[in-house]
Subunit: 437 residues, 4 copies
């Protein structure tokens, strides 16, 4: 085919020179990703971060295309160029099962975007499947097996999913670009020069170690500053409590929900097909919430309004030790008339910025390997004091969310506000004598 | 108030140090702009261009803030710093009346986003009005008068609306940044250094003329390459024909539309309130279109699917002279079964990149003035051969849109395709001997 | 050979995968380019513009490498990939004959950097020649013939030297990057996608015309704002008058110059070998000027001090018509004690931003060709109104330079200053009633 | 005065609105900095890094200007705005005593750029002093005392010299920009927003901690990858051995050196005045080396040629433990005819990326303080695990340099090359069984 290009602000151009890729992009399932924001509720904090999963998937594909092109040209002995198409296709499709506000939605309705990605690829009714099957009858299953880490070629699997894969590389660069949080930038050009296929997977040449180090640090910084931002999590909490309320009301108000939010019914009823799932996107969800803003149920309508009009909850950090005392705050909240089930929440955000392979871990990580001059491999953190300091330590915090009305500055319930503020110091929940966070 | 900042990828930070600005941002009418894309259908061509009008309005405000700060510090004799707040507020709110896919929507339903902006500012029921009126009882009217160019201080009016205003400066930089079309970049820093308030409005110092020149060229390039891109206009055409079909069907299928697209009813009925208008956004519209995809009306459902799944029409450029012969193409389209009323369209896109003041013009433009060393003003194109070449000449093209199925490569209706292709050469509609476009 | 890379801030990396290129870079003649600034005296105005011709030559080579790689992959029918090495080598060496402050120096001492480039390539004593001759005995001559436009393959010649060649593309991007004058940026990535070899040379695909247009405008802007900046030309004028004075003094003070500036003697004596030329660079010249600062000749020492310590002359623009009256200013300058031969100068700077082919012109230009869909070529300005406006018109100005001491603000010679200022208005030399510039 | 601006590629514009600053820039001592490269020999490795100390000093000044402007506007209680000028002047002049290739030169000739900076400021003969003394008679001494850390206002001292000062902030951004090593970039805008004057000096607000963290990591990365690059150190080693040879030869060849390198005589004679020092710059040194290339002393001429034509030495890393065995390599080098005194060298490069205050350290560091919400200060590494990992640990390596001719690939002395290579593995000097580096 004649090469097609997509202008891309992160990679300059996304090049498509394979008909299968072009056809996949034009499927309705892939086009649907235009209607789902990559960053979910983070766009409410970083207003620039309004890009879609469509953009990210094109970007992950483009990185895969560049890597496989380099591998095919430079490493014909250690890389099988027949894997190029599979790698590019999987990169393109790796997130195709993501839905609206996935993280919150999945927790409440027990869906799983990885499983849905698999279905979109293997279900004969999807346009995606119909394109894939033309490559070879077993091609859809191959793609699915890469996503599930069961594909025998570990090089392909690690390019798609490991601690430094095309997915993460694109989302760090892209989220950083769009939000304006420059910390996520790293030297992709350099990484593309030092990435090598080795026997058991992927490695990086020793003289590019600092670029990999920089990538790990960038990833850590994006988590700390963008992905774990308290205000974005406040929107997640609102969304979660709003949907929880709808779920609670549903059995008594089936007609109301059938009329106002038809595409959610299968989820309330726990009888979900792939088509039901595909029918949801950010716009549909927000449309429903806007209708709920006039619901007679005062909690449903209030939470919907808070979400749509971005009236975020506030929060404090609490230590594990003090978690058991949070009831004191919940009581005060309840006393001024808020139902704590819907007006408070605990939100935990932790990430392991990097880890070496621990065979006994629940989910052992594929460690990042550095290829030395004499051909031996060394695990990244053994060479980098910077990465060593981040390895194996979970970073993040626990937060307790509550209505802004509880703060003294709101000035609504002077006495209760005052009592409530006694438990807060420097954004921490304090209890007893010491603030031991 | 304590200064608040918003991280912005274009201006680095948007600074808010006035409570009125902060309160306006937090109104539900302003938050609604998060749900309306700045570029409408252009995002379907430039996938990175997914930013909202919310981002753009913050950006226009930020430029206004910087300019008024500079004016207040450097030009106390020629600028009245009491106008700072008015200027910043108007910059923030100048687009607040924009709705989903405004340009197409307005044409079909006879709405007017400028008029709606005025209503949102002056109607006592809006949260925006309620914030504004606290500044002074006549403040909302003042803001509205700036937007309508009737405010007596021409400096303020020109900052908000002229051939080089805060609106255009932000959208060029922003659309360029997000789409990746670097042509829209110009040297804002330099322009902020040379912009000056003069007696009759705004001017630019002679030593910064090249930056202004560059801005005019950038604007021209963005129009030619992004805003007038044939694929984006193909999506506009689809949208327009889809809504036209719905409008046509409505009288006979009122129940269907009441159920599937309740918020459009007032528009079909031509009885629209401000609240009706506010209830529409991109997500709501797309949600309705997704429902229409299963409509029993084959044209409605087909056009809805084409729009949602981005199956764009194709097009040819035609000359004014040949417009009268387009019926030939319409006939062929009709012969293979497409209703030309819904499957073809003429789309005209022209822009006047720059013009000097012509008192007799329909909409005379405020020309760009250059301030010379001896205090005299000179009109930009009299000094710049580059701008002179663009002044007064409308740039753009007329296109005729039709289904992709008509092209030979589609191979559907071999004979008709062949006949159709006879009228196309190098993207032009040709008729008779010469292609005189 | 194993690919070598050079980190480059403009092109990210310069890749070297051919031993000949690597060996050429390591010759002493090429390394000498590190000691010659690309922008000559412009670095005294744009302090960031301190990069060397070494950097620029690597950059021009890198663009040539990318283009020939693309041509070899995509256009095997119309491009002969045996020309790749020749193209890359010529791009690398195209400026190797440049000396310190070339433009000024050449005018005074009648040298010619193009001729010297030829000598460095063809003279058997140079390391460059010794590397080249290993490719093939006639390879040095081939390289020289490309530089002299006599090589039969016009594609190669135009890549090296035409209105849009690797030299200009690199220097615009590079000078823009280093000076901070963003106007010089254009979309190289896009141009690399649309450049094509055609029968008679090089063309650009129609869908990339706007990128070429942008390049032409960028070039124009860099000339107007950076290359023709009055302060840089003031330094050129100082340099020229300083060397003129040395030349004048030489016959009487041969010993003085032999001691203080040995490498200039061959130039004073007009008996210059290639080795003499190679022995000069910016550092050597400045070292000599620093010694001259203590010369007993008051004009030589004063001009040397002004140059080394950047005490620039001032200037006015004059019209062709008024040139004959400049004697009035010279007289006043003379009256306060400055020798007008060394303390004034006329400096003309004009450029033709673009032109189409004019067979009768003194130096006919190779016009920029646009390749249309049907394979025909069209000259750029026939398609682009923007370029049309710049075509064929020389842009620039004439300036008359004089000591800063003549300005009123210097306040040295009150009466004469006053008389002098009467002839200046808005940076123009005025004479008689009207300022008709 | 009317504000003057300098276009700067790093800070966009350097603004000068104080006559003292403008006059200082125009002194001959400051203009001399144009002739001294900021990065010394690093420009031979990173060809883009050719910027001068002039550029860096303007940049450090600009950061100081921005900070003091912010402090004066926002922190009138804790910052004395009378210190603004002193801070800006000191930032501008902090490096004015730097000479050509300072680090190498100072070691050999026992000069000290800090002491020379003091002299340029306090010596009544310099133009700098003459400008400064017009501010106030004790102003030069004040400036000098800031540079020597004895000025009582610790805020001013820390802005000029601490672990995060205007000097470091500018050189990281600038060296990163010019070399193309993107690792040095950090978020200056953010740091300018969170920097605060506190009682004992300078601190950074808690919500900007990640930007400070990023700065520390960037600094570490620039050291590891740019400043400690083995090839740049190879050039330093060449330079040092070259000057060592000249020093050795001088007593016997006084006439030769008086003729070829007059400005070095005072240094050979150890009788150096400030004027002698000012007469040296990069161009002067290189001019001398070019003359030495034809010296009859074979070592002097050979080393001069290697330096001028960039024929770098090669190196191996060695462990402290193995240092005592390096004699083996020196012997082999000697056996093929190289004098190890001039053809080998040990080069140690270590840096302490960050440290907290250790009262007992030789040079205790001013630690970076984070200002918490309740007004208390916390040392950076106590809050940041990333910085904690870098604190207090010296990073770098020891290298042994030798002629490239010793490597097997040179193929000159087959047997000795072979013997030599036996001691090298993966860039390390190995001795005995284990490579325990």
């Amino acid at each position: 085919m004649i090469e097609k290009v997509f202008r891309d602000p992160v990679h300059n151009y996304v090049h498509v020179d394979h008909q299968v890729i072009y056809d996949l992009i034009n499927t309705k399932e892939f086009q649907r990703l235009r209607r789902i924001k990559q960053l979910g509720t983070s766009g409410y904090t970083f207003h620039g971060g309004e890009h879609s999963r469509f953009s990210h998937c094109l970007g992950a594909y483009e990185i895969a295309r560049r890597i496989t092109k380099i591998f095919s040209e430079k490493y014909q002995d250690s890389w099988d160029s027949h894997e190029n198409l599979l790698t590019m296709v999987t990169a393109l499709l790796h997130d195709v099962g993501h839905g609206a506000y996935s993280h919150t939605f999945e927790r409440l309705f027990d869906t799983d975007h990885e499983e849905l990605t698999r279905q979109m690829i293997t279900n004969p009714e999807t346009e995606i499947h119909q394109v894939l099957v033309q490559v070879a009858p077993d091609f859809p299953d191959k793609v699915a097996s890469v996503i599930h880490h069961t594909y025998p070629n570990k090089q392909v699997v690690q390019l798609i999913s490991s601690q430094i894969d095309v997915d993460r590389m694109d989302y760090l660069l892209r989220d950083s670009f769009y939000t304006g949080a420059s910390y996520g930038q790293f030297d992709l050009t350099r990484i593309l020069r030092v990435i090598v296929p080795v026997e058991k997977g992927i490695a990086f040449k020793r003289n590019g170690m600092h670029a990999v180090e920089d990538y790990v640090v960038s990833r850590y910084q994006m988590y700390m500053q963008v992905y774990f931002h308290p205000a974005s999590r406040a929107m997640e909490v609102l969304l979660q409590n709003l949907l929880k309320r709808a779920k609670f009301l549903y059995p008594e108000q089936k007609d109301y929900f059938a009329l106002t939010s038809p595409n959610l019914i299968p989820f309330f009823e726990k009888q979900v097909t792939l088509q039901d799932y595909l029918a949801l996107d950010d716009g549909v969800m927000n449309t429903y919430f806007q209708v709920w803003m006039t619901s007679p149920d005062i909690i449903l309508s209030d939470l919907a309004q808070r979400f749509i009009n971005r009236k975020v909850f506030k929060s404090v950090i609490f230590s594990q030790k003090n978690e058991k005392h949070l009831g004191i705050m919940r009581d005060l909240i309840s006393q001024v008339g808020f139902d704590p089930d819907y007006y408070t929440a605990i939100h935990r955000n932790f990430d392991l910025p990097y880890d070496f392979y621990r065979p006994d871990a629940e989910k052992p990580r594929t460690q990042i390997e550095i290829l030395q001059k004499d051909g031996s491999l060394a695990e990244l953190s053994s060479l980098s004091p910077l990465v060593h300091s981040l390895a194996g330590t979970r970073q993040g915090d626990n937060r307790f969310y509550f209505p802004k009305e509880m703060l003294a500055e709101a000035g609504l319930f002077s006495e209760k506000n005052h009592a409530f503020m006694n438990y807060i110091q420097n954004d921490y929940f304090i209890y007893g004598e010491a603030n031991d966070c």
